[in-house]
Symmetry: C2
Subunit: 217 residues, 2 copies
DNA sequence: CTGCATTTTGACCAACTAGTCAAGTTTTTG
DNA sequence: CAAAAACTTGACTAGTTGGTCAAAATGCAG
């Protein structure tokens, strides 16, 4: 990670000015748009600078390398992306907890599709920039929640199911609507934009998954 | 689409020589590897030429534009990718037909992950090269099968479920294991390579989806 | 084995792009 | 309000990459 600015005396404090805060945000917002559409290699610094409304050298004043923008963006996104999983309550009602998790994920997929695509693209290409994050942060969290789900299964509160595959299935299904949006639109056409579409999607997904894991008599 | 070679007399026949056949195959195989890993923009012609064991100008003799290789590859892939959906038998047993479809898709995801990633990457970036294919070929086929599933639901052979969302869920879940392989590996570690992994995956996916759509009393 | 068509390649070019730099402008601060 | 710090940018460079070209090598039909 690069130091943002050099101060006269060499310290760590790193105070950020008002202008820095504004411009970094401007850059990151523009970059999310562009990176999520064209991927890392497909994106040029000029595109981001244009969209952020500033000159390329100025952009590079805030983020000395293209990589810096990309990595910052991914880190920001992952944090937010994982939060709902962490909030699954081991003491709550299993079906209810999973219903909430799936619902939140579908909502995120609709409200921040770019974030989903940014992440999908990175993983698709082998996750060169975040493989450490995956093993150091994601894995432990998933292991933790998988254990909870396994306990639920043991207690007969869920049908016997591999917790990891269940989690993957939830991720795959919910993110599909953001990542493969073009395909969904090609098939379902005008329906996609319509008001109740998200609810209809949530309903269908919840119905299949929850009935699929409800304890069977 | 570009004409491959010009013949002395201007005709259509387009005969392909032995060498052409060999080299085109060599190029396409190499290109699938590289494109699926780095995406269209992230791939250089030199990389493909290297992997195919020939010089860049020679490669360009067979495919005058980088685009040509990419599009050819996508078309080849899509054909194969869609076949299993077409094979769903409207007269068969619903649960059995869907079990077969899911099983085949998981097998394909494991045996040709590059093809899945190539396609995923293209759709993720807005499907610029295949949007026509999506609306002209994919949509009609899906509409057709959705109608079959809807009829099954009407006949009480499946629980009430939106057929389109069911199909999306099957695609999302099965392709997840190819497209997000790195993530799956980061979480499940050594298990992924192990012999029975595909069967375990298939078992989990089938169990949730099929129980999720089995008619309820 | 000869002459024509096909295949192969080294050398090259033009366009693009990440990143630099030095000189200016604006903002902050004492 | 002046000086210092922070910010901004036009012009530039070096490296990369898609694609060209002309000439050489190879394959093949008669």
């Amino acid at each position: 990670m690069a130091r943002a600015t050099k101060k006269k005396t060499s310290e760590a404090p790193e105070k950020t000015t008002r202008i820095q805060e504004i411009n970094r945000r401007l850059i990151l917002d523009a970059a999310l748009d562009v990176f999520s559409t064209y991927g890392f290699r497909g994106t040029t610094i000029d595109q981001i600078a244009d969209k952020a409304g500033m000159s390329k050298p100025n952009l590079l004043y805030y983020f000395p390398r293209k990589q810096n923008i990309y990595v910052t963006l991914l880190e920001e996104t992952l944090e937010e992306w994982l939060a709902p999983l962490a909030e699954i309550d081991p003491e709550g009602d299993p079906i209810e907890q999973l219903r909430k998790y799936i619902t939140v994920k579908i909502r995120m997929s609709e409200s921040h599709p770019e974030a989903s695509r940014l992440f999908a693209n990175e993983v698709l290409h082998g996750a060169p920039a975040i493989s450490e994050f995956l093993s150091k942060h994601l894995k432990p969290l998933v292991d933790d929640k998988a254990a909870v789900i396994r306990r639920w299964v043991g207690e007969g509160k869920l049908a016997p199911v591999d917790p990891y595959h269940l989690i993957f299935m939830i991720w795959a299904t919910t993110q599909h609507y953001a990542d493969f949006d073009v395909q969904v639109r090609a098939i379902m056409g005008n329906q996609v934009g319509r008001p109740g579409f998200r609810e209809q999607t949530a309903q269908a997904v919840l119905s299949i998954i929850l009935n699929g894991i409800r304890p069977r008599l």
